[in-house]
Symmetry: C2
Subunit: 251 residues, 2 copies
Amino acid sequence: MLKPGRSPHALILKKLRLRGALSAADAAAIDALPTQTRTVESGSYLVREGDPPKLCSLLLTGFAFRQKMTQDGARQILSLHIPGDLLDLPSLFLKVADHSVQTLVRCEVAYIPVPALQELVLTHPGIARTMWVDALVDGSIFREWELNLGRRDARARIAHILCELASRMEAAGLLDSKEKFELPITQEQLADATGLTSVHVNRTLQALKAEGLIGRSGRSGRVVTIPDWDRLRSAADFNPRYLHLDQAVPA
Amino acid sequence: MLKPGRSPHALILKKLRLRGALSAADAAAIDALPTQTRTVESGSYLVREGDPPKLCSLLLTGFAFRQKMTQDGARQILSLHIPGDLLDLPSLFLKVADHSVQTLVRCEVAYIPVPALQELVLTHPGIARTMWVDALVDGSIFREWELNLGRRDARARIAHILCELASRMEAAGLLDSKEKFELPITQEQLADATGLTSVHVNRTLQALKAEGLIGRSGRSGRVVTIPDWDRLRSAADFNPRYLHLDQAVPA
DNA sequence: CGCAGGATTGATTGCATTCAACGACCGTGG
DNA sequence: CCACGGTCGTTGAATGCAATCAATCCTGCG
């Protein structure tokens, strides 16, 4: 439900307009971008660490995540992604990818050739500005996750991720209300996103539920409800400033 | 010693050329950038969370760090900065800063008006490319720190930061050899960078020294020596790929 | 000389991990 | 239709890494 429109161009326009104004000419240039759409299975790699970027993928439907591993195989999930997100922006101008991107569920993805996107960014100041904002907001989210991983306890870490996802999905227009959304993530993946173990995530989720901070339904409790946004926000130490949602053009 | 030249323009050129090629015209445009140089005391704020960016600061000498705090006052240091680093790049196109930047020691800083830098980036494709690379490398470092905070133990976390700093300073031409460098940071700050407590940092540093992985000298042991780079690298799980040092133009 | 900030040490506590088993759910195939 | 296997979730007990609490020690400096 609430699937974004099929057109990659419309979606990317909508996303970039969350980041700033675009002229008609800018919009036309984006519409002219060559794209190719594919459906990829859950768990597919969209980017592999060490690969040179050739295609830039835009998530149309589904969820994806960035990850990185230590030598001895411990995984850290670096960020979560929702429809509208540009997944290869972090390596757009680099020679190799420094981390991997994988789908969380079956996804539809649009591919844009990297040279075309680079060209667009380097020659259209209006587009450049929104892409800069998008990349800088991405960076801000990574920094907030550093704080989450370094200085919050398990309860706040998990609550924080839930608040972030709800806020981002709402801002992207993917939700009826940010009090209820589907987060198709296993507890092990949530553990890798929070720097915890799946066992401890399980216990902490139960504690959050017992406190009445979250509700869980659907298969494996992957539909999250937030009965009292303000209480969860407080438990999560969540301040949406870092999402820079105020960059959007007033509608 | 080994102070970078006094000219902000020369330094920024040198830094950007680590990120890619610049034409003579690009270089001239950078030389025309209005700048103003100041000396700031240790502990000064260069950016405060919530402030709108007006000036973009370039670190000429000394060290600085980014930081962010939780509601209850726990601090996380997000990254460390060395001469040549552009400290306001993460908020260059945003309305407010999402974190603070503070000096670690007395520093010389050059200020560039944000509009001038924006203009430069939006209208000079060659400069834009190197600034993109610089911003993307910054992002890559944040992601590596996420991994560091989320999935490495205290020993590896501290070792990793030492490896990163040595590598970055060497790449920036600030070091005679990456086996010895000064890191004027208190153990409490190092704790905030690694998500640990100062007490545990103290013990872990002693353990690293006892293992022969590092040596410490100077006042408060803030000159670090690395007797065996490969052993430290291995203990740190350090892989320099994320620093993207291969973007530099071959000399 | 004494102060202040930082480093060091010891004792204790606790949050999260580890190890191990079991349970629930789902899609598949006989 | 149901047995089966696999993935994911749940629970319990024991362990451990790092935090906490509280002194004490340095050392540069006013």
